[in-house]
Symmetry: C2
Subunit: 357 residues, 2 copies
């Protein structure tokens, strides 16, 4: 890929920005977006920042038929001294290329895209909300654009980045969530696409989530697709268990997403000398430790909510109330520290934060 100049066309009109206290998640988009196209002869080309506008595609465009899509999610934060910070964007670019690999989509140049992203976010600086819990959500994604009804990788693609000022992902905020342990539906299996951030994994999760919601649970916990025994992850979070002082999270087994937050939490815990292990862990084991009173905290990790304490599981019709349904001490400390680093209010000993200027 050539490091071409990025063409910028500014929007003639500016949309009204939402009030900080009325922000939802992923409903409102900024004035501009980044776009580049791929063709077999030119590779990725025509990198450009243009006004946010509809995409026009033939009904035969492969994106409408065969699900060959990948995406990423990260955030930009605006500090009190008006700096704009990104959190470990190189991790998202790395993961995007892993997803591309699995979905037969050509690799992107992560460094170049981060430069483009910085430029885009700078242009949209005024869109970044500053209130506690708010940020600018960044959605890079790639779609196949060839017009062809046949099961084969597309020859043409479009890469885009769109931006959305957001409040908290969960309406409940940092309050503990209730999670249903799924024992019928499967999200991903070894040899499938679980490790990739591709539409497929989310499409297949909708049904389980709908059924869990009917029972009063806002998310589902996925078990492995083979034995329906080992814990994988939650809808859009990785999951951690604090058992007798040790923190355990499922290992990267090829069918769960390698969360950037997951990795950061592990690093943080290590730096605090809190024992943490990545290993296979069954729901039965978690249930046993729970019955013995040794399950101290459970929390999910993800870009959207950073840390989501889990207040309750429903597992085989059994309610498991964790830490009296309250946010645990460690969960709170991790949330405060990680979001402090992300927002530039706390020191960043890991060099995770990238200043956009």
């Amino acid at each position: 890929m050539t490091k071409t100049k990025i063409d910028v066309t500014l929007s003639k009109t500016k949309k009204e920005k939402p009030q900080s206290d009325q922000l939802e998640f992923g409903r409102v988009f900024t004035d501009h977006m980044f776009v580049m196209d791929y063709s077999p002869t030119k590779g990725w080309h025509d990198a450009r920042i243009v006004p946010y506008e509809p995409i026009s595609l033939s009904p035969a465009s492969m994106v409408f038929h065969y699900g060959q899509t990948v995406f990423e999610g990260l955030k930009a934060y605006r500090t009190q001294d008006d700096k704009v910070l990104l959190f470990r964007p190189e991790k998202n670019m790395h993961r995007l290329n892993l997803s591309n690999e699995r979905l037969c989509i050509p690799q992107i140049d992560g460094e170049f895209v981060i430069e483009a992203l910085k430029q885009l976010v700078s242009i949209e600086k005024e869109w970044i909300p500053t209130a506690e819990g708010t940020s600018l959500y960044i959605r890079p994604f790639i779609i196949p654009t060839e017009y062809f009804l046949g099961v084969a990788p597309s020859n043409f693609y479009r890469f885009m980045i769109i931006l959305s000022p957001v409040g908290s992902y969960y309406k409940e905020g940092i309050h503990p969530v209730k999670i249903f342990v799924e024992n019928h539906y499967v999200r991903a299996v070894d040899g499938g696409t679980g490790k990739a951030k591709t539409g497929a994994n989310y499409a297949s999760s909708l049904k389980a989530q709908e059924e869990a919601a009917k029972k009063g649970y806002s998310q589902v916990l996925w078990l492995d697709g083979v034995e329906k025994k080992y814990i994988e992850e939650v809808g859009s979070m990785n999951i951690f268990f604090k058992i007798s002082g040790e923190v355990v999270t499922p290992e990267l087994n090829g069918s769960i997403l390698e969360g950037v937050t997951r990795n950061s939490i592990i690093e943080l815990l290590k730096s605090w000398d809190i024992p943490v292990s990545e290993r296979k862990i069954s729901m039965e084991e978690v249930y046993e430790t729970y019955k013995k009173g040794k399950l101290e905290e459970v929390f999910g990790t993800g870009t959207a909510a950073v840390i989501s304490p889990v207040g309750e599981f429903l597992y085989n019709e059994q309610k498991m109330v964790i830490n009296d349904g309250l946010t645990g001490e460690l969960s709170k400390k991790l949330y405060d520290t990680l979001s402090g680093i992300q927002r530039g209010t706390m020191q960043d000993p890991f060099n995770w934060v990238v200043d956009v200027n």
Copy 2:
């Protein structure tokens, strides 16, 4: 859903039709398409036949992110006496609603859609090629259209039918195909979306197909996602084995597609008093019968190619050449009979064929 009138807007210009002998699969589309929209308050509404034209969608439209899509595939044939025939379209509508159910998409009224399809196909009659092996491929599909970056079923959808005059799906025509038995990648698993015709299943298959192609195999044979032992199906075909005079095909286990051709072949075989069973069958069993010289024929079934004889498997580095790599007698008879019924050149004792007028 109300059986509203279908609004028709005819195209002012007509595209040039491709030569019968230059038809590819799924590259050229006719002048019109059928469209209807869904909203929570109106249900499916605004049913219309309009000129074939691009779709314009916000970059935040859910279809670009979370893969909540379903589709169907069937064909229209034009007979020598200029009738237009559809083959068991009610089966496709039934399956579309099964897919909808799994993907949390609202049900469609199959009868109404078949009426719409008949009207659309009548308008495009001149587009239906008549040469041997050619037909008009029909692609109904549904995409989510809500603008929202959150993992949840869309509240808005668009249903479309587009039409493409096609030649043979496989460039090889009715010649036997070579198939790679996949023992690493997995297409679908119990509790997943295997039974639904949704983009996810096809996206996850691309990588395996690409690797098989490099080895000189045009398709992959999928094994079950749990034990990687039991046979499921091929990329876009169900599969049948003729072993010592008996025909065996994997049972409908929830992770394979319920092919319309599969069902029709079973009916045909039964009507001919050829023993046929739907059951679990492992690749090991097939290999054993092969070594004993009892594997007489193998063929895939699907709308695109009707019958694809399998001339060779590559299984754990072992080449298995079936029936000397030639089209088997039964495969040929099934192909001739089923395509004869579909094209109106043979009697249709099952009442499968629907006259568009």
